[in-house]
């Protein structure tokens, strides 16, 4: 047995926040108790002193691009899962926009098998909504689900046809699989490269209005309501989307949503190289910083605040990184040509804690949105330290200051907008299924 002795256990799923001792028996949690490890236990078992540390359920990240198969130069399932372990993320949902697109059981099984081989995190495949994610014909959802897909999504390529989306939702409801949507009306985002507004205007970049996201969120909420399917809205970035989600949830629509750390930490000013006012001490970037280019784009401060408030309120259920590795060939180019997206697995916890320190998010909610919240979105048995739960546990040094050094990232890619930032809170140990997969400094 492994005994995590006397850490501050924060397990929102079970309403626990206090000094507890966690007993890991094989691949599951045997018990979480107030009594510290006894001298007898210290003789027999591996006891890890967790005094002064936090002990949390492993983080569940619903939105991760692992790039394998097809773009192994950017990331592989093994390197991505290793980065996840370093960030305390014990479950990752692998997006299907690989080459080829994960729209068949064979590919889904390949992804899951590679994840098991690597062993650093639970890698759960997501299947495509439509064949090839082309938005035209439905993918084999029943088969995908059987092969282990926990949701279907055409992430990165919105299903533009409302008619196809309606049928996809109906079919997914029958199959019993949630549908994750990348909400973007491509005719509104058009050739935009960043959020529409004064910063885009000053930099001479074409803008993407918030309405490109909000219009699609509203359409899909209507269709979810009409069909009774389970909808999950990915990377919510706009205030209008939050409002639509709040209304839909109040009406009883079966919808969940996630937000990404870059959207709740940064704003469109980052494209001009200006760090957010709340983090004025962090290093400034360069104007046209392609590491501030994402889709959906970084938005205005009012949007950022709305997203944070929605996390606190529970309108947004989960924090998900949208970890999107890209190499220098995709990022060290003209802004309009640069690829969208940033890596995030190793920084999501510390960035979330920034919100806790600024008083924008309470600690228990923050942990919930990183663990039980996302697990609930897709009915996953993780993100909890309840008795007999899978032993996915992390030990965190909440006070440890560290500097984000992209060169030391476990990911194969270096594209983070937080390079040089000083963050507080570091994962010192990560267990997946009772197995130690990451130890800080080792």
């Amino acid at each position: 047995m492994i005994i995590l002795d006397s850490g501050r256990v924060i397990d929102p799923r079970n309403g626990v926040d206090g000094v507890r001792t966690v007993l890991i028996d094989g691949d599951h949690v045997r018990e979480v108790r107030e009594q510290p490890a006894t001298p007898a236990e210290k003789l027999v078992h591996q006891v890890i002193d967790c005094r002064g540390r936090w002990v949390l359920p492993g983080l569940v990240d619903l939105h991760v691009h692992l790039r394998e198969p097809g773009e192994e130069g950017k990331e592989t399932i093994a390197t991505g899962a290793r980065a996840a372990a370093a960030g305390g993320v014990t479950t990752v949902v692998a997006m299907p926009n690989t080459r080829p697109v994960c729209d068949s059981a064979a590919l889904a099984r390949f992804v899951a098998a590679r994840g098991r081989e690597a062993g650093f995190a639970r890698v759960l495949p997501a299947g495509a909504i439509t064949r090839g994610s082309l938005g035209e014909q439905l993918a084999d959802m029943a088969e995908l689900k059987e092969a282990g897909c926990v949701c279907v999504t055409d992430d990165g390529r919105p299903v533009m046809s409302a008619g196809v989306m309606r049928r996809a939702l109906e079919y997914a409801r029958d199959v019993g699989v949630p549908v994750m949507v990348h909400a973007e009306d491509l005719t509104l985002s058009a050739s935009g490269a960043m959020n529409e507004g004064p910063v885009a205007t000053r930099l001479g970049l074409a803008g993407i209005p918030a309405a490109a996201e909000v219009a699609m969120v509203q359409r899909d909420l209507l269709l979810a309501e009409m069909t009774g399917a389970r909808l999950h809205v990915a990377h919510v970035s706009a205030q209008g989307s939050v409002r639509a989600l709040r209304e839909a949830k109040a009406r009883g629509v079966r919808v969940t949503a996630e937000a990404a750390p870059h959207h709740f930490t940064l704003t469109e000013e980052s494209v001009a190289g200006v760090p957010p006012a709340a983090h004025a001490g962090q290093p400034a970037g360069e104007p046209y910083d392609t590491h501030a280019k994402m889709n959906p784009p970084l938005r205005a401060e009012s949007d950022r605040q709305a997203v944070v408030a929605a996390l606190e309120e529970g309108i947004i259920d989960a924090i998900a990184t949208d970890h999107a590795p890209h190499g220098p060939l995709d990022k060290q180019v003209e802004f309009v040509q640069a690829a969208t997206g940033v890596i995030g697995l190793e920084t999501s916890l510390a960035l979330t804690l920034l919100l806790v320190r600024s008083g924008e998010l309470t600690l228990s909610r923050a942990v919930e949105r990183l663990t039980a919240g996302p697990a609930r979105c897709f009915d996953l048995p993780y993100g909890t330290l309840g008795a007999s739960a899978p032993a996915d546990v992390i030990v965190v040094d909440a006070e440890r200051e560290w500097k984000v050094d992209p060169q030391r990232s476990w990911s194969r890619s270096r594209n983070t907008p937080f390079a040089g930032w000083t963050l507080r809170g570091k994962v010192v140990r990560t267990f997946v299924g009772g197995k130690l997969v990451h130890e800080e400094g080792k």
């Binding site: 046209y288 180019v333 003209e334």
Partner: protein
């Protein structure tokens, strides 16, 4: 004298937004001298030869967009200062498939460029270039971001006509959304103490433009009333294809400058256009060719401003 006039002039000219009023005025003063010298030379008076200023220096123009006017202007300016000039014309779309911008400019840098004059369809591209080369980089227009020498040449022409632009009101009318000329003019003129108004159909007014320090006029009348000068911007056919405008005729009717609409302007107000003009769309022929038109003087100012920009960025010692 050049170095005395602007000891802190940056070695790259990427955007007017980043320049101080002092830096802009230093450049304009030098440009005014070069312009007078060129005028005297044309009149057959003894020209002061400036070909010693950049002798032995390499100025490379690197254009990823078609342009004859701006490129010729830069080349004439560089040659007037005695520099050796090389021109590269590249199709940005073919570059996208092959060599990256960074690789292209590293090569030119290694060849021995002292100044790279860059025009590129992507906003921010000259800054990317400046980050990787030793040479001075002069932005000759990047996407819808800035066209610094255009802003400066407009200011020079206006300043010469008025003595100062301080306190004057300049209206910029047309496709503000896609215009780097508008942005450079807004920064330049407002730093020099002028008031700037922009006007055009809402489809061509970018969100938050007023944060750059200009007013937004919702009609041509509002734009022109009380203005001391009006600058018309080129309306491109793509704006019809991308559903920003119904057509040239409708535009000319609501925002076009012609003898009738210019009645809204004070009688002595000036008319500018960065060229090339769509006669009859944004500007009618009678206005373009009228005495209040500064269009040809703008072209003349262009060479002088580019000489001054090259001289300052390359730290040429300009004798009095």
């Amino acid at each position: 004298m050049g170095s005395e006039m602007a000891p802190d002039f940056p070695s790259h000219l990427l955007e007017l937004e980043a320049l101080t009023r002092g830096q802009i005025e230093a450049l304009l003063s030098l440009a005014a001298r070069f312009k007078r010298e060129r005028a005297r030379a044309r009149a057959g008076e003894a020209p002061s030869d400036r070909r010693g200023l950049l002798r032995g220096r390499n100025v490379i123009t690197l254009f990823f967009e078609n342009s004859t006017r701006t490129r010729s202007s830069f080349e004439v300016a560089a040659k007037a200062l005695g520099a050796d000039v090389l021109s590269f014309q590249k199709d940005a779309s073919s570059v996208a498939k092959g060599e990256s911008l960074e690789d292209t400019v590293r090569n030119l840098d290694a060849i021995g460029a002292d100044a790279l004059v860059v025009r590129h369809p992507a906003a921010g591209a000259p800054r990317l270039v400046a980050r990787v080369v030793r040479a001075s980089v002069i932005n000759a227009g990047d996407g819808a971001h800035e066209h610094p020498t255009q802003g400066l040449l407009d200011a020079l022409s206006l300043r010469e006509r008025w003595g100062t632009v301080e306190g004057k009101t300049v209206a910029i009318v047309g496709d503000i959304a896609h215009s780097r000329v508008a942005r450079s003019n807004i920064h330049c003129l407002s730093k020099l103490g002028a008031r700037v108004r922009v006007g055009g159909p809402s489809t061509l007014i970018p969100a938050g433009i007023e944060r750059l320090g200009c007013a937004v006029a919702r009609s041509l009348k509002e734009a022109l009333t009380g203005a001391d000068a009006v600058m018309a911007l080129r309306i491109q056919n793509e704006r019809i294809a991308d559903a920003r405008l119904p057509g040239a005729r409708d535009y000319a009717r609501t925002w076009g400058l012609n003898a009738r609409t210019l009645e809204m302007l004070p009688r002595d107000a000036l008319v500018l256009h960065p060229g090339p003009v769509n006669r009859g769309v944004e500007l009618s022929s009678d206005v373009l060719d009228s005495p209040r038109s500064l269009v040809m003087d703008q072209v003349d100012s262009g060479v002088a401003v580019r000489m001054a920009a090259l001289a300052l960025c390359l730290r040429a010692e300009v004798p009095p």
